[in-house]
């Protein structure tokens, strides 16, 4: 009975107010096949106060759409004083496109905070690796680490320079020599993948704690690169209930079959069966 310890003990269905939508990719890119990113700022005071780094929310889509399921989205930023919670979203299909056209001033049901987030313990030497929109769920962790004065290196990767939308947030926390960039086309930082940067950094420094979020092949590569440190990964699965009841979101760990929504989304990378 106790294995279902009340992980989601603070989750509520908030009626969040859509304060603003910021399109982060050029309007000209917006209808093209390229990556489309936007940020939603929601007013949800209790959620802002309660969310822990790495937790997510389950967002309902606007009424009147043919969608019946919510969409899981990690919390990117929060401001406890203004009660604003920010999400960074990549348009993947019709659901995320619906979210991108939410009207300012409307209310939207947002269930959260959900899941188990990052646990860096007292580690004082940490590496954060974010691929694409995977940079967002690491940001609150970075803030936490910065606040306690940990040594932190951040690696951010994206296809092109204009998609490195989180860079400024991270350089606001750490000096730019600790924020390492990689782009597929070399338009900013090194030309190549985050994993190339990670390999180089790991030669010079031993990290006690590594946290990574992004495409699964990248997560796997990062986990295999440093078997020594504590490595946490944030996994994405399709979700229906979001609270542990329906078993839609399972994945295999070395111990058992776990639910990404309740037992995760953050897991010990070495316990995941890749």
């Amino acid at each position: 009975m106790c294995e279902q310890s009340a992980v989601n003990s603070l989750a509520q269905d908030h009626r969040a107010l859509v304060v603003r939508i910021i399109h982060l990719t050029e309007p000209s890119d917006f209808d093209s096949k390229g990556v489309q990113l936007f940020q939603i700022d929601l007013e949800a005071g209790e959620l802002a106060a309660q969310v822990q780094p790495g937790q997510f929310v389950h967002m309902a889509l606007p009424q009147g759409s043919p969608h019946i399921l919510r969409r899981p989205i990690s919390v990117y930023k929060r401001d406890i004083f203004t009660g604003i919670v920010s999400l960074l979203i990549q348009i993947m299909g019709d659901g995320t496109r619906c979210l991108s056209s939410l009207e300012t001033g409307t209310h939207i049901p947002v269930l959260g905070p959900l899941g188990r987030g990052w646990n860096s313990g007292n580690s004082h030497s940490c590496l954060l690796v974010g691929g694409g929109v995977g940079a967002a769920p690491l940001y609150l962790l970075a803030e936490q680490l910065a606040a306690r004065g940990a040594h932190v290196d951040v690696v951010l990767g994206a296809a092109t320079a204009d998609l490195l939308v989180c860079e400024k947030s991270y350089t606001g926390l750490f000096s730019s020599e600790h924020v390492h960039l990689a782009t597929d086309d070399g338009s900013k930082g090194i030309k190549g993948f985050t994993t190339h940067v990670v390999a180089r950094l790991m030669q010079d420094c031993t990290y006690q704690y590594v946290a990574t979020c992004g495409p699964e092949p990248m997560l796997k590569a990062v986990v295999l690169q440093q078997p020594g440190a504590i490595i946490e990964v944030s996994l994405e699965r399709r979700m229906a209930c979001g609270i542990g009841a329906c078993l839609s979101c399972t994945f295999d760990s070395t111990q058992s079959r776990l639910r990404a929504c309740l037992d995760g989304p953050v897991f010990d990378g070495r316990e995941v069966c890749w």
Partner: protein
Amino acid sequence: MSVNLAVNLGGLGMKNPYTVASGTFGSGREYAELWARHDQYSLNTLGALTTKGVSLEPWVGNPGVRIAETASGMLNSIGLQNPGVEHFCHHDLVWLSSQDVPVIVNVSGHRSNEYAQVIRRLEQEAAVAAYEVNISCPNVDSGGMSFGTDPDAAAEVVVACRKETRKPLLVKLTPNVTDITQIACAVQEAGADALSLINTVAGMAIDPLTRTRVFERGVAGLSGPAIKPVALLAVYRTAQVVSIPILGMGGIRTVTDVVEFLLAGATAVAIGTASFGDPFCAPRLVAELAHWCETEGVRCVSELTRSAI
């Protein structure tokens, strides 16, 4: 005017005609904790709670992608993952027995004697109010739906289960047959106290970019508003030929959906997929039904059952 919402589902007394659809609600704990935080609801708001399918041994369920959204619906291929009846009794049932809600345990098996053995074990548990025998799951290879598509095989499972218990025995049927009334009659004859209609509709999804099927087994089960008309017809037709009560489900999301199922012939209803979009759907609809009856001058909700012409 006070409205009497109580119904009797094949010997199971329910204070209102609502339960949840098996597999969409776990054993209720996750939703109960969420409801408690919005403090007006508890599981006790429901007429009964139906658990996820329970089998004799632990089942790991299906690998790979397990759900996909469709227009006004969803496909699932969970594959009846569950920790087995022994674990269920020691964990889920212990917790459920403190919740003051009648518990319907959904039972699955690969062979008819496996269903019977699960019920034999559950008979030791006072917390179980009724059984719902699932002979209709499209997501497992042996057992499941293969029993529910043949009248003789269906009857064999029901006879085996009937021998084990005097508690209300519900049997859950699949719409994936040419004539559901044939199966329904065979199951009634074999001793079922009530029928649950419907389980998910067989369907599939293909990813155009990878040119592969989304679900490893190819087939998956469609649920949600997309299947409501299919479910309504199954309930209506079945109600014409059986005398035992029907638990109606399939795409219910609003109070008028509920009323339609009652009119078509259901005595009670289950809320399934709708809880994913709105986790408070079931308790909200309990209140809305009382209001609907009041507005329409219906004193007793059971008057509605089978009253469609």
